[in-house]
């Protein structure tokens, strides 16, 4: 097979590309995922007061700004060596659970459900949220919009603005909520719990009851053996807002549990000539290439990973759903990439229940939500579990709190190697010599990518919320055989 060097600088036009290279026999030899780079983020932050970063970093992404806001705020706590009062932590976690609800609902109904409700080879004109609503009913569409709006409203009240959160400060929050506001949150959270239950049931009725889909989920082309990483609380249960970071191996055994501040002892980043985006890997295992298994330092984050690393969910209905998932899929850990969609709904259940718990806790409306920092700022790390995975913000400042250095490892960035591997595996399984490559087949390759709910906006700090994507198939000499485009216009 001829070796083809890709020059990312001349090829990329502002959207993502999956390039599949066929060998002489027409089988898939290699797959590459490329995303355009945005230049100068670290430089942009340098010289600014560090407490501005919680308002700047959310601009990286119009889809998950709240995750950056929270990780950044926690990083500023660490830089100033300050501990927020309990009410502030609860309020932050409440806000953050609302964000998880908002994000997971949008992803499942708009991005995942179309493949399952309409079928992965259905006409693209139908295979979207409009098709889902046409199939499952307008009423359900209304419920999706309503509950997303509830989550958004909770974030807007706590965050300060509907369009951009400004509440996070080093040592706490900019304002407390009132008892009236708390009561409104409680009502919305109750509705959210019901909707989360409904969503799990929908998955049951539409996906799990369909043997074809279950085979798809558990099939070999979408399975990958890797390490998993996620945040857990003191009881090793999933927590989105705070805790330690736990890593398990492909057999489910814990191999590390560390504090956010120590992440550089555990995570390193590999670079490849064909991609601007780096490839995080587990330092102690080492980078062995894009390979699966225990000897390779590739790890995965996000819903399936979080459930794999934890011992369970901290709320009852989510715990039931968790147990059911593992029972159905044959025990822990689950390596089936498409099971991420199921795991996402289990997390939605937990986020909704936790949202209710916190909104019923009177302390969340306590007026004391800020500890003023007194220590000299220097360096700190803030970590949260973003909807798409573990998100690290690491800042270094001078003694006045002016930013000297910024390092971010974003959720999707952690999954970068795994995404490339999943795409390749799916492509190799689906596209074989002499086969006509239909749009439906290419969509199934793309499903491997989409299960990760990738937010390339964060990964390269690219355009918020928009991820146009092209899938290109080339023969063994690099000539283009076929292209499939999404959202390019």
């Amino acid at each position: 097979m001829k070796r083809i060097t890709i020059d990312p600088i001349t090829r990329l036009e502002g959207h993502g590309k999956i390039e599949l290279f066929l060998d002489d026999d027409g089988n898939v030899a290699n797959a590459y995922l490329q995303i355009p780079e945005l230049r100068g983020f670290e430089k942009f932050c340098e010289g600014r007061p560090v407490e501005e970063l919680p308002r700047i970093t959310p601009r990286i992404c119009g889809v998950c700004p709240s995750a950056h806001h929270m990780a950044s705020t926690k990083a500023t706590d660490a830089v100033y060596h300050v501990n927020p009062p309990p009410a502030a932590k609860k309020l932050r976690e409440l806000y953050y659970c609302a964000h998880m609800c908002h994000s997971h609902i949008a992803h499942f109904y708009a991005l995942a459900a179309p493949d399952f409700v309409l079928g992965p080879t259905a006409d693209p004109a139908e295979r979207n949220i409009l098709g889902v609503v046409a199939r499952v009913g307008l009423e359900i569409g209304g419920e999706v919009i309503k509950h997303r709006a509830y989550a958004q409203e909770i974030q807007a009240v706590i965050g300060g603005k509907a369009t951009h959160s400004v509440c996070g400060l080093p040592g706490g929050m900019s304002r407390a909520i009132t008892e009236e506001e708390r009561a409104v949150f409680e009502e919305k959270a109750k509705s959210m719990v019901e909707f989360a239950k409904f969503s799990l049931k929908l998955f049951d009725d539409v996906v799990l009851a369909n043997k074809g889909y279950v085979d798809l989920i558990t099939g070999d082309i979408y399975t990958m053996q890797s390490y998993y990483m996620g945040m857990v609380d003191a009881n090793n249960k999933v927590n989105f807002y705070d805790g330690n970071i736990r890593v398990v191996d492909p057999e489910g055994k814990e191999v590390a549990k560390f504090k956010p501040a120590d992440y550089l002892d555990y995570v390193a980043e590999h670079t490849e000539p064909w991609s601007y985006l780096k490839f995080p890997f587990l330092k102690k295992v080492g980078w062995k290439g894009f390979v699966e298994g225990k000897e390779s330092g590739v790890y995965r984050v996000a819903p399936l990973a979080r459930l794999n690393v934890a011992d369970g969910m901290a709320t009852p209905i989510a715990q039931e759903a968790y147990e059911r998932m593992y029972q159905t899929l044959g025990g822990k850990p689950v390596h089936a990439t498409l099971a991420m969609h199921w795991a996402r709904l289990v997390e939605l259940m937990y986020a909704a229940e936790r949202l209710l718990e916190l909104s019923q806790d009177k302390e969340v409306a306590d007026p004391n939500v800020r500890t003023i920092p007194t220590a000299t700022p220097d360096e700190g790390v803030g970590v949260v579990e973003a909807p798409r995975g573990t998100l690290f913000h690491h800042y270094q400042t001078d003694e006045r709190g002016i930013v000297k250095k910024v390092n971010l490892i974003v959720a999707t960035g952690n999954n970068h190697a795994a995404i490339c591997m999943s795409i390749k595996k799916a492509a190799q399984g689906l596209i074989k010599a002499g086969q006509v490559v239909s749009e439906g087949l290419l969509n199934m390759v793309e499903m491997a990518f989409r299960a990760y709910d990738p937010c390339m906006a964060c990964a390269t700090h690219t355009l918020p919320g928009q991820m146009p994507l092209e899938v290109i198939i080339r023969d063994h000499q690099g000539n283009v055989l076929q292209t499939l485009s999404r959202n390019l216009s």
């Binding site: 983020f41 942009f44 601009r59 409009l130 609503v133 209304g142 989409r450 991820m467 994507l469």
Partner: protein, 157 residues
Amino acid sequence: MGNPILSDDGVGFRIVEELENRYDEREVTVIATDLAGLSLLDLILGYDKVIIIDSIQTGEGKVGQVYRLDAEDFTTTRHAASPHDVNLATALELGKRLGLSVPREIVIIAIEVQDVTTFGESCTPKVERAIPAAVKMVARELAGWGRHKDTGLGDQA
């Protein structure tokens, strides 16, 4: 719409800044947002008419060119809308099908831009020079809707 820290992708924010204090807020709401997809739908529901102001890269236009488009001009992307993203056209269609109060008129004022890949708070020179023309276009659009009086803090359309 846009991203105020991504150079030319912030042009929408700059235009909206010029318009902010010129209208009675009971009649005209001015919002600057970097949100996308379904979240955009949330922001425009309940209004009669919406003007969306954003950067665009058509691949053929001259940098600094200002276009006026309607939502129909985006229907091709709706049909190619993939499960990968809920774009504006799809979000609007969804709102309509669900019987939500989607604005009955949607106009898009788009500026052809140069650089949306470098972090920065200012626009490139040609885009910067296009801002007054774009502001005028928006003001003209609002004046055309009849009821909205520009308080005259800027150029008259």
